[in-house]
Symmetry: D2
Subunit: 486 residues, 4 copies
């Protein structure tokens, strides 16, 4: 750990407001129980494979004897950990976390895993999701003397666990009590002095799966993390399930019963890595199928199918396949655009999009194009892309989106804009088409989307499209910002 620059601040960086920003996943979690394995490095590679789920902070907690050590920091996994850090982290089990805050509070104090001492010893926790009755729980806890050092709902969970476990419950019982209190979305990995726990809420909002590596159990938000470390996929953790892993092997308990499955459908559309399998479906296959269905719903006579890379590529290939129209990478993405990149100043704002995406002029001149993207937020970026394509001589441009319009805010762990900022909640299809200045605009219908999932249509949360929220919200919930920061 280098001496310079080690500091914690809640003054925060001013969050760069990116226009037309995509919804963002909150977090990714990983856990491994592997005496004899190099669990620190395996966790490093595990959360590295989950980096797309959160680029703001990263952390690893490791169980060594009866102590849990933790290292965490702001930035990418590769920035937070050096070789010597991993060498120092030795133990028999570990959990890891990558995080994207959904609020302005990009602070080290909010980085996970949270590690603390309680009556029963030490405990580490990593959380992906969003607790919806956080106000009620916060009040209940502080009124009995609890203090909070972060602004995350995860610290609520941690306090509940400490309270229940202290009342002579086993940790498993404490987790069950805790699940009974919690409303909302949560996929948790918990590390105690004895065991690794994997916990998924009663609806299965956020993904969580189980794998095995040379007889040692591994849990991860997505199966790509299992692949990366060479582990085999076993199964998804089921809604309401508590998986306990320790020296006696793996046991499963139903913590709360599952009344309704509500897997987040946005994982398939945008968040998850294409090579992951989630709750029975391969993400890449689903995306390609979205493209095929787009071609059926919106057949159009054009010369080229062009994706907005990388999010639109799979669907564009599906569209091209189903329509027989030629697929072409007409937009070149600069792979070096990262967090530390200097944004163009006002006077050269046009440089902004071109830095990230440059159209390949030679391919576009005089062509009719169907442009495929996964979703549309404020439309600003799309409009600029369309402008660049026209400047290169494209004479007809249709925009097809592989998802229905997002018209409702998410309260289950996705960072969407507020409802009043959502384009689809404010404008008609025709108004949006005009704003983006395309010749045609089409969103994949919700029915088509759900049809992809065979007989499992009812297993998904589609609240952001349909407004059908699986869990009723606290009244205080209306003001979403307040809620998350309590």
């Amino acid at each position: 750990m280098s001496v310079v620059g080690r500091r914690s601040s809640d003054v925060g960086r001013k969050q760069t407001k990116m226009e037309g920003r995509k919804p963002r996943e909150k977090c990714g979690v990983f856990g491994i129980y592997g005496p004899g394995l190099n669990v620190a490095r395996l966790t490093y590679y595990g959360i590295f494979a989950l980096q797309h789920r959160g680029q703001e902070s990263a952390g690893i907690a490791i169980l060594d004897g009866d102590k849990i050590h933790v290292q965490k920091g702001m930035g990418l996994v590769s920035e937070v950990f050096g070789n010597s850090d991993l060498d120092k982290l030795q133990g028999r089990a570990a959990i890891g976390h990558v995080r994207y805050s959904t609020t302005g509070a990009s602070q080290l104090v909010n980085a996970q895993p949270l590690v603390f001492r309680y009556a029963g010893g030490m405990l580490g926790l990593a959380h992906n999701g969003n607790i919806t009755n956080v106000h009620e729980l916060h009040q209940r806890l502080t009124s009995s003397g609890a203090i909070f050092q972060s602004t995350t709902d995860s610290e609520i969970i941690v306090n509940l666990l400490a309270r229940y476990s202290q009342a002579s419950f086993s940790m498993e019982e404490a987790v069950i009590r805790c699940m009974q209190d919690l409303e909302g979305a949560y996929s948790l990995v918990i590390l105690t002095e004895k065991s690794l726990f994997a916990v998924r809420d009663a609806y299965g909002f956020r993904p969580l799966c189980l794998g095995v590596l040379n007889g040692n159990y591994v849990v991860a938000s997505e199966s790509c993390a299992l692949d990366t470390i060479g582990a085999s996929f076993l199964r998804d953790v089921t809604p309401g399930e508590i998986v306990t892993i320790n020296e006696h092997g793996l046991t499963s308990t139903q913590g709360v019963s599952c009344q309704r499955r509500a897997h987040c459908i946005f994982e398939y559309i945008y968040f998850a890595r294409p090579d992951s399998n989630i709750d029975g479906f391969n993400v890449k296959k689903v995306r390609r199928e979205m493209g095929r269905r787009l071609a059926q719903e919106y057949p159009v006579k054009v010369d080229l199918v062009i994706p907005v890379p990388d999010s639109g590529t799979s669907a564009a290939l599906g569209y091209a396949e189903a329509s027989g129209i030629s697929f072409e990478e007409g937009l070149m993405k600069n792979r070096y655009v990262g967090r530390t990149f200097i944004q163009p100043c006002q006077e050269m704002r046009d440089v902004g999009v071109r830095l990230k995406l440059n159209p390949v002029r030679e391919l576009l001149a005089g062509k009719r194009i169907v442009l495929i993207d996964d979703s549309l937020v404020r439309g600003t970026t799309s409009k600029k892309i369309v402008g660049m394509l026209r400047e290169c001589g494209a004479r007809e441009i249709h925009l097809c989106l592989s998802s229905p319009p997002v018209a409702h805010a998410c309260y289950y762990g996705i960072d969407t804009s507020n409802e009043k900022e959502l384009l689809a909640a404010q404008m008609s299809l025709e108004e949006i088409r005009q704003r983006i200045t395309v010749d045609g605009l089409h969103y994949l219908s919700l029915n088509s989307l759900l049809d992809i999932f065979d007989g499992k249509k009812d297993s998904f949360c589609t609240a952001c499209y349909s407004g059908d929220y699986p869990i009723a919200l606290e009244s205080a919930e209306i003001d979403r910002t307040k809620k998350l920061e309590f």
Copy 2:
């Protein structure tokens, strides 16, 4: 705040074990209530003036509206804060802290001020001292569900405050309750959404004083911090007192009664800055008087009085004055030795002391010398200094120490060695003299030392010399390491 390297780790740096290390102060605290003033910068300069009380971490918490923001980090004040950080910290009141851990846990999570949310809002706390009944309190708190994220006793205080204040007590009442629970040494500054509190334990172990800057109140561990920001010294906070400062001005409450004053005498001997006045005595004057009394107790016929800089300089001047023997700076100190300095490897170990102290050969050849230092720990460094002096031709060397032998460990906020490592607890005077290879060795007697403080002899804690502990220790106390880290 730079992006790279912001991380928190409890894996820790391997604490460099310095041979013959001096006892170390735990912390320094500072607080200011100054609407209209630049409280962040004033606090920066305040803790900068207290830097000698802790070089491991630094932090500032500031009250802005009803939010308390905090920035803290590992390292010196000048390393933790940049200009832009201070510009961002705006508010009407602030507290600051510098820290030296007494255990191996040099971690960001242990840096102060601690800032948290509780039922009553937000609260920040900075602590100098050491709670002695920490085990009992820790058990009481965790058994009712409390969790601990640091390994400091300060988090115990914070939890007590939260619990008492939630029970419909005012914060002042909560502080009183808290003081009734706490045993040991503590000087606290507390920042709430309304007020700044300065609290000192019933014995007054650690210093804490009060000043005023243009009508605004300031509190600090030492008066030098008041001088530095241009504030005038008002008075010391008295043992057991709670000073409350807010928009209504300053009020004082006796939180617990003071049965016995027990100011730490080591502050005068070594820790405090010479320009500070503590509990009625100027540190520099006390040190010079120690030298005078040394000359009376140990008159010796030599050519030169030479201090070990900087700790022995004041006493050496006193010795020279009283004895009439010439004072000479015979050892040159390299002012660039700092934390990041590369320690000499095994093969050039001799370089070690010479890097820090180089004897001025021309002054020493053929001379008889009395060498003055403030205290002796393991004697290793002293022995090397003596060797260097002899190599330069000094023909007689006497070592005089301006304090009695430290024979007992401190439990009230000073980081002494364990009792079994203390030289004076293990060897006779003659054995020590032989080990250090000096011609004469003398410690200032406890009586002489106390005589300096006129009619206030009984106001000091002399436990490290006499073994007379003002507060009985928990039985668990015996194993001191366990205690501090619980």
Copy 3:
């Protein structure tokens, strides 16, 4: 510019030897003459668009009055420059450089632009290429007293310019003299107190093109840099040409005559960005055509065409188009793999390739595959990829490469392996096939490749395939390492 860590060392980092590493481009250059424009930011975005041509160091030199200021550093463009750095760089013309050393000497001292004072004032130079008679020139210069502070051949050019310009030649004449001395490959941008020069060697090995932005001239290694800053492409700088840009506009001089064009064909195959146009051909179109011709040369009955991303994607699309076989992104690339990434240790070496590329199991099971990549170096990575595909159930795998086998080292600015390390120089096609464990292996023929470039077949350097070197090499040339470092 932060104070900590600014240092220069030639002790160097141990160059990570990546197995099966691809050939690497040496450098990218950029220049702009734009009084009134923010030339520092435009140069920043220009070299940012050329980042793929060198990730080791970056630099910008700017002309302000009659001073040339320079800032350069190790790392990516976004790491070397902060916002405040760009704010400080003000002027009317600028040049920029990104660099990949071809030797072990990754040193700040070798970063460009080189800026120096000579008899005529100040001069800055950025160089892409490789001088082949460097030994002779080095000896000539040192024997008349020249000193060299870097290990780059660019410093040779700089010394020649200084010597010729001092002999009462104009800078343009000095450049001509210099070109007469230099053998090998070079595309230069030169900044003097009056003018910006763009210079290309007599063969046109390395690319260099000219654009215009609101009446101001811009030069860049590739047209994508012009696109990025919103400049229009004018034309390529021709072999042997000197373009002079200053307050009087643009003038062109033929510095040396062009006997033979020898554009580097590898630019189209691998180095250049797909959206660039170089010497009359669009890179992406050429790559797609390579794929089509591969399909003609090696028609095979399989189920899927799968690219090795990103280098094989365009050719794979061409193959799929020509063959009618379905294109599928069967290998998922982790976009977060960067320079600071921790390489897997020996015990988890298998993790290595999977971190970067993960096969999408669901798409591959039971399938026959043609895998498309651009070239093959040592074959180690390809073999691992093939292994992963088989593990996922692929039952037949053919590997098609969109270039002929690289059998000869490059001396004109590309960092290939030594000849004895080149797979194709050592093994037969069948031996390579067996080593990689594929069912079929095919390289695009040189004839097919050249046919893509219509009537311009003879305009290219194909030395790395054919051994036909456009410039005879110094005898000392044999030991290539010596040569480059002199």
Copy 4:
């Protein structure tokens, strides 16, 4: 060497203009020829002991086989080198340098040692001093094609060496030729592939001495560096001497004859470390003697002798001794003030001096004081100190300076202010006294100062006091700034 932040810039930090800044030494040099020794670490400790001679940049060059490696950087020795850096620097001889630029150009490119390749191989050079005929030499060199990458006169020396050595001279002959060309002040250490050279100009302006460590020769600016690494002092290098050290031992050549010794007298007054011996005199002893002579020249009836720490301490002790008046450390210096410290903003400017120096109120009230400092520049700081002392109740204050008034600029390696900024060149003694608001003011007379140096009065350069410049200046010299930066 960390990857982030390694960059070179000539844009520079804005040089903080400190009011009343003291003159500054330009540089310190060190060299060791020690096969079998850890020459990198010994050089590290050597330049660490010379850190007071330059805090802006540091560097070490080391001879390994026939290569010379160099590492240098901006900042303190302890900031530039880490343990792993030193481990990588292995070899049989090394030179080191610390630097304080005398101009605004605080740039990495100007850091030393300079290392370069020339016709004869590799060469490293470290320089302390200032060449006065730099314009003439610069013109001569550039007119024959030389280029300059730094703005230091040291690069002139390097080019001369390269030119002479290439003309079939031995390096020793080249050094002699070079010395015949150079005018001004220079103490050089030069490292070639065979030998270590120590060279001192014909006047001996800047110090340079020779030591021995276990039979290996060491050279250093000051003897304190020899002491620190445990080497014995042999002798000073004499004016005009070239010392050559290699496998055949040590040989001495008179490079140019010495017509007149002109050792810089300011070394004794301010720059050098008190524990150093320079040209036959111990610095500390000289300083104490200055104080004694001050007491004779300016006897005054006061209560206390108080030094401005640290520069006035030795003289104050001498004054106290000669006068019999009590010495007291009445001003406390904060040892944590360093380069990264945040300067107080306008509104709290008074904090500025108090941060660095705090008067000990208890000692001063009602007292008459003689304040001792080494010199006076603009008087601003002194005036503030006097103000603080009066505020503490001092009722009479005399200021005595242990040097004559500085009335002339230095051209031989000291960074004085321009003549028109020098207080003593502009105002009468009485005017200065009034400005500083003291009751009395006295400068040590030049005669008294010179008398200290027994029969060697004529061996010193006193130009800054007397205007008697040992070397006539170039006419261009008048504009000193131009000269140094050429």
